[in-house]
Amino acid sequence: MNKTDNELDDFRYEVRDWLEKNRPKKPDFLMPQSFMEVGTDEQFHYLREWQQKVYEAGFLGMAWPREYGGGGRSQILQDIATQEMKVGKFPFMINAIGVSWAGPLILNMGTEEDKRKYIKGILSAEDIWCQGFSEPDHGSDLGNVQLKAERDGDDYILTGSKIWTTLGNYAKYMILLARTNPKIENKYAGLSYFLSPMKIQGVDPVPIQKLTGEYGFCQTYFDGVRIPASCLIGGEGNGWRVAIQTLQYERNAEGGAAGGPTSEIPYVHEVIDVARKIKRDGKPAIENPHIRDQAIKFLITEVACRANLVRDEIPSLVIERPQSLSMSLKGYGCDFWQKMQEFAMSLQGQSAAYYVGDDLAVAGGRWHRAYFNSFSTTIGGGTTEIQRNIVGERILGLPKS
């Protein structure tokens, strides 16, 4: 399956061409910046349609097996397609939990039946997936999951609640970590993992208002919800292992993911464009020495983050600490983006007083919203602090805190 550089270039142009011809028309409503921020029906439908279109054109799930709905082609083609979508700033794949988490998991550990049932719907965005790990009382502490799944004949009965359920109110399925055995001493062994339906009796996703004032997450209540035991994946009592596996997909980002961007990635040059337009002391803010220096610092980090990804592909350049770059990806990158977005906001000077909805808000308040929403990346999926623990312990071999 080795492609020549020419073949790869040809493919890149083919993708670019298709994308440009099919670029969706600019919506007249505010677009979410990631799949975690889809708060209205019009946003949802717009994005779902786009994912479907990309899938149908063959640019999503390209490396997934053909028999389940994938393209059966090579990963490098998918990577090129994904890159083109990112660079061209095309909308992201709304079914992110499906394409990045549930899909790889099912392909990896699911039964033949699971694969036939779920994979195609994941790719086409027909079946939206959500994730049920966190609970209200123990955010980052997954080992402490309390939502009960009691065996009752061929079924399990679910009782409890999950929080930060992205797209909870749109999802058809949830990847769900639940406690099947509350008595066992090793708390991890009491956990099991389910591919659980959402649109059934007793499941109640209630939207949570975010600090931005918008919606996008739910708290999902389970009130004696009955699901078939066939929803179990990995076997009863193996939930912890499956969850860790799932988190690996996320931390390694592109790992076995179907491809496509899952969020709008803010670039430093966009921040610099803001600084060109904003006036300070009668001159463009970009002429302010402090702002120039900051901008260059962010630019260096941006290029370094990208260079990290490239270097991570060269084994002899990561030989001493093989997982260092991939495990730092989230902590280092998200922290950088957050600070960059804060900077984009702060350099607006007096105009930073405005927020989404005011015609004087710079770029419609995009940067304020991006900064606020960035906390979902520094908090969700393991806070930056927890990421530092992980890197310290697993990469540097430091003792547990």
Binding site: G139, Q209, R280, H290, Q350, A353, Y354, V356, D358
Partner: protein
Amino acid sequence: MSDKLKIYPVINFSDEQEQLLEVATNFCRNRWPNERIRQQIKDEDSIDAYVWQEIVELGWPGVAIPEEYGGSGLDLAEVVTLVEPMGQYLLASPLVSTTVVAQALIVAGTDNQKSHLLPAICEGSVASQALSEPHGDWDLLNLNCKAEREHGKLSLSGTKNLITDAHVADIILVSVIFEGEPALVMVAKEDIPQSSIRRETIIDETRRSYRLCLDGIAVPVDNLLRQEDTIKALNRIELVSCLLHTAEICGANNAAINTVVEYLNTRKQFGRFIGSYQALKHPTVQCLQEYEAARSLLYYAASVFENEHEGEVAVRMAKAQAGMAFSFIADRAIQFHGGFGFTYECDAQLYRRRAIWHESQFGDGNYHRQKLAELLL
């Protein structure tokens, strides 16, 4: 050269300040519990008329107005002790904007203006100022709005923005170009058609901000402040605003620290109170220390405010430090509240939004450090 860099700060704290600080703290705590803040966000009007009436009865709008005009004849240092607790409890009142306008009138008002408007302010007239323009520059002399003599009146034109509480203000002080030079004009409520005023969407939802279209508004020529003192008045406005904003920031900063500390002492993760983790404890201590530094600079600035040069240096230092400290704690407040910090319900967002707003007003840290470099280096 170096001599002006040898700054040995003095803090005077009068008995009046001590009393006012205590009274104001109790007042704000009682009048403005957390539920009230949430209500104020929803209300069209963020100011509570009853609370303002009480403030007026306490004599606070006149604290720094000379006794001859019905005030208490105290200093801005005393106003600082009133504003700091208002910041702490996020209490919405037009005390800051009203005080600023009064100070501008003292500097550049005509005798007639002073003898009419200052007593009115002491008795509860709400005053606001319209200094900003959509170009977004902090330089108060960068003016596009105009006043022109027409039919024996001053005819105004242009757009002013970011006017706090404009819809309830009895008088608005507007900066314009008049006869080629900067000028300040008082515009009375009755001279402004409702349609000229439009509410803005600002980041700090506990405040109300308005845009004012001056086109078509005409006021008596007597409403002009002494034009030869305009620059002096604008300087005074900038520094008084910085001082009082810093007081407000320090109060809110303190509240943000308390909010974080309470959560760190309540929330458990992995079987331990999260405040026991150094990853959260140490940055919180750093936030505390930056806040304490800001508050010390605030009271230094309040003490030497009327000294030329030293007053300006101290105020700019205080604003720069306070803005940085408050942004830092408010940012970390979201992070350290974890998932809850990401919700609208958590108070962290209130502080973060307020910190953004404060940095947008009268210059951020970078701006004041530049001014300080000009003053000191």
